[in-house]
């Protein structure tokens, strides 16, 4: 029996790595399918030719390189950002229903976007950038409201969840107010933004989300063991040497950056942040060194798959992705709940 507990743990870790590897494989497949499909009905061979730089048709190159590639990459980076932020929220709030969507951070971003759509003309920034900037800023404002409650003495995770729900209602009400005041044209823009769409992607926007992701994930991973300990409850984590308050604050900043960057460019996309961490948790457990990267992978995979589906529903058109993720997400979430119910 020598070394059996350690050996067992190593085997479990190897199995987790394998699950993540399989998810990476599925992601690559989805990513390829995302580039191969679209309203322009290109043949996979033509797409491959263009990717390899061997296409002679500038129109084909423009579709593949300026439209499809940024959209497919955006699905991956935004999905990953939402997956990680959902996992972190669920961990720091000790609540499986927490995500940046259910706790009002996306609603904050939506309010910011609507504000910029209505009043952006007064700003010295083009609307293509004022909307994402305002969305990013207000995601941060929403996050600070919730985190501010967390700085109160005796703030429990339950109190933070309530603060998040209050934040959701607050920004939804403010958003409704703006929609009520908006002109029909502006209202249409706001509603379309809220649907969520990958169609506004560009390589610059992909790069911004990508940079946020590559900076924030490694920083979060340095806190991986402390985040894992936090799941034993605040008191046990404190007894193990975790400074719970400052860890939560750091995590909130990370969530704010990730969610803000993700929704700023694509609008509110629900369910990825809720579902991806659950799938990841079922497969790799709750050691955050595995859970955070796996949540990123599954978030990317889900959004990439949703992007493919959004193009297949009505051939020739692209369905708003936010609607697709919610439509796929709800039954999928129900299935997850049924599975976890059966296991326990």
């Amino acid at each position: 029996m020598s070394g059996s507990a350690i050996a067992g743990w190593r085997v479990a870790n190897a199995r987790r790595m394998l699950a993540s590897l399989a998810a990476s494989g599925a992601l690559v497949t989805c990513f390829a399918a995302d580039i191969a499909t679209g309203p322009a009905m290109l043949s996979p061979a033509a797409v491959l030719r263009s990717l390899a730089g061997m296409a002679s048709d500038p129109m084909l190159d423009a579709i593949v390189w300026s439209l499809r590639l940024p959209i497919a990459m955006m699905a991956v980076v935004v999905g990953a950002a939402l997956g990680i932020s959902g996992a972190v929220m669920q961990t720091i709030l000790n609540n499986p229903l927490a995500s940046s969507y259910t706790l009002g951070i996306s609603a904050g971003a939506g309010f910011g976007a609507a504000l910029a759509i209505l009043f952006g003309a007064a700003l010295p920034v083009p609307q293509a950038w004022s909307v994402p900037i305002a969305a990013f800023v207000f995601a941060g404002v929403a996050c600070s409201l919730v985190a501010g409650v967390g700085r109160m003495r005796h703030a429990t995770p339950e109190l933070l969840v309530l603060a998040g729900i209050a934040c959701l209602f607050l920004f939804q009400a403010l958003l409704s107010l703006l929609q009520f005041l908006a002109s029909p044209e502006a209202l249409q823009q706001i509603v379309f933004w809220l649907f969520g769409s990958l169609q506004r992607s560009s390589s610059a926007k992909v790069a911004i989300v990508g940079v946020v992701l590559t900076v924030v994930l490694p920083v979060l991973l340095t806190d991986a063991w402390r985040l894992t300990a936090l799941q034993l409850g605040d008191e046990r984590a404190g007894a193990l040497g975790v400074r719970v308050g400052s860890l939560r604050l750091r995590a909130f900043v990370a969530v704010s950056l990730l969610t803000g960057a993700a929704v700023a460019f694509v609008g509110t996309i629900g369910f990825i942040g809720l579902v991806a961490p659950h799938v990841a948790r079922m497969l790799v457990g709750e050691d955050q060194r595995h859970l955070l990267p796996a949540s990123a992978l599954f978030g990317a995979l889900l959004l990439s798959a949703a992007s493919v589906v959004s193009k297949l529903i009505i051939p020739g058109t692209v369905f708003p992705i936010g609607i697709v993720t919610a439509l796929i997400g709800v039954p999928f979430f129900g299935w997850l709940i049924a599975m976890s119910g059966r296991r326990s």
Binding site: A229, E235, R281, G285
Partner: protein, 244 residues
Amino acid sequence: MTVALRNVSVLYGKRRAVSDVTLSLAAGEVLAVVGPNGSGKSSLLRAIAGLIAHGGTIDRGHAAVGYMPQDHAIRAALTAFEIVLLGRLRSLSFRVGEKDLAAAQAAMRELGIEALSGRRIGELSGGQRQLVFMAQVLAGDPTVLLLDEPTGALDIAHQLQVLALLREVTRQRHLTTLVVLHDLNAAARHADRVALLDGGRLVETGCPAGVLRPDLLRLAFGVETAVMTGPDGHLVVVPLGVCG
């Protein structure tokens, strides 16, 4: 390792949970803290663990304090081994070192629960869970061990097992152990010394026979008791009725 408390008090807002407690703990002994609900037992433990602010002085020397709070269900999808490994949190790095792995495994072996290592914490019984958390605390190589009602929800077999192990570990590792117990008979059987708290104040401290006396128990709990010697020489406290 000795720990000395002088005039320790704990305030929650205006409510005084612990008042003026002076107490010293010696290495190699188990001190049981008993008292009615709300008498300040858990607050005293948290103050010694350094988790809450307190008045007075607590001299821990260079002790490494291991604190095990009251049990509650854990939803986390972590395995028993991962929970024990978290006891090494202060030295854990992203790539887990051999020393930390060995310490976690050794603590599980010491308590005879290595077979549980791959099981998820949510699948374990209350008794098994308590042993896993005890292993977690031991994996951190503490010199002072503080446990808050480790036998709260356990049946008598698991109570005996956990407390006997606690006593054995205290002797073998020469720990300074302070354990909050509700069951006076468990305190009489497993502790070297008993401290009786009431309303945040220390009523009496000493060997079980000197503290678990009908007059002091009436004072603290408001209950008439008969205290006798059991067949194996340990004290037995029998509650007779609430004082009129």
